[in-house]
Symmetry: C3
Subunit: 162 residues, 3 copies
Amino acid sequence: MSDQEKKLLNILLFSGDYDKCLPAFILANGAREMGMEVTIFCAFWGLFVVRDPEKMSSTDKDLYEKMFASMTPGNAEALPLSKMNFAGIGKTMLLNMMDNQKAPHLVDFLEGARNKGVKFYACELSMEIMGFDKEELLPEVEVAKVNVYLENASKSNINLFI
Amino acid sequence: MSDQEKKLLNILLFSGDYDKCLPAFILANGAREMGMEVTIFCAFWGLFVVRDPEKMSSTDKDLYEKMFASMTPGNAEALPLSKMNFAGIGKTMLLNMMDNQKAPHLVDFLEGARNKGVKFYACELSMEIMGFDKEELLPEVEVAKVNVYLENASKSNINLFI
Amino acid sequence: MSDQEKKLLNILLFSGDYDKCLPAFILANGAREMGMEVTIFCAFWGLFVVRDPEKMSSTDKDLYEKMFASMTPGNAEALPLSKMNFAGIGKTMLLNMMDNQKAPHLVDFLEGARNKGVKFYACELSMEIMGFDKEELLPEVEVAKVNVYLENASKSNINLFI
């Protein structure tokens, strides 16, 4: 056991960009491997990361919510890059470069984080605004209000807004 | 009183995006309601959030500053989205979704933060570069250098760069 | 000596945007002047900031890596803005506004940070994916894995993801 045991990493995952979610999940996996506790609180665009691709519902959605659900990425791997045109690099190019180095994809890091016991929260207010049902998220994700985030963050050694 | 009393939340608000300012102000309101102290240090694009819509000055501005002042958002509610084209969602659509859920707008959260005693700073260097006068900001905003931010952040339980 | 001595500021520099790197390096310089220790861990787009403009290599690069190296900014000053169209402001306009205020440019803050003893790390995984060789980075940059970041961050008083 490393001396990082009992230390807490807490991430407020606001971004729904593929390239910004990568470091969030690389850190989450690395921290768990060092024995740290890890909490990821998903808000706004970050909700797309913990969407369950097999359980999308269109019941009880109003018009905007249905449009929104049908247009937005259905799972982590479908997220866009934050800079589609940064230096002309596109997501295909980034994924090719990752494959050339046998680097895992975002879905792999997400799977790793789930297997290693990272604790996931989904922001209740964001879910209401975006029209997400709890059933559309990965089953272990807990819906929580902002005070749960603040209580976790107050106790954490590392807080990051990504 | 909650045990969060005397804990400090410190936000370096760099972003001038409507969707990124929302979580900053939701956290600020939530933290004050839990009895935490909250400091928001506005730099660069974040200065637009604390611009006073009733007190814009064009005296003592050079050409670039005048162009800049006339083209940029005059208050918090006029800020753009970080992802105008993310999944085709525009700001009108987001505001409609928020209204459908009776969720407050950014100006409401800003008003709440001001009423609840959140402490606001404006970065002096950013103001100089962008040509902002102190008189153009909300009256309670204090102009400060980077060392004030660092001293506050050193003492805070939660530091976020948004 | 200020009472900030022995305090640690730790920045995970993910962004390769000129305007987002500015506050990172302004904070780094300010913190060193107050006697704080400063660590900057460069990952993904943040690697471009610590690229050595005089030592770009194209040996041992595969096709994607060569394309990527030739298309991307060769040094800190060549970085783009995060919002090229925010309020119509372009990088030339921002630099003009900075020059009018005699504000230093990003390269100046980078040089200051190097002279003041800021500790730089480069993320090993990001380097592999992007095809960077250690020789292409500024000589004092140390290549490190995510556990080095997490150990530093666990001990730091201020952690920021920029």
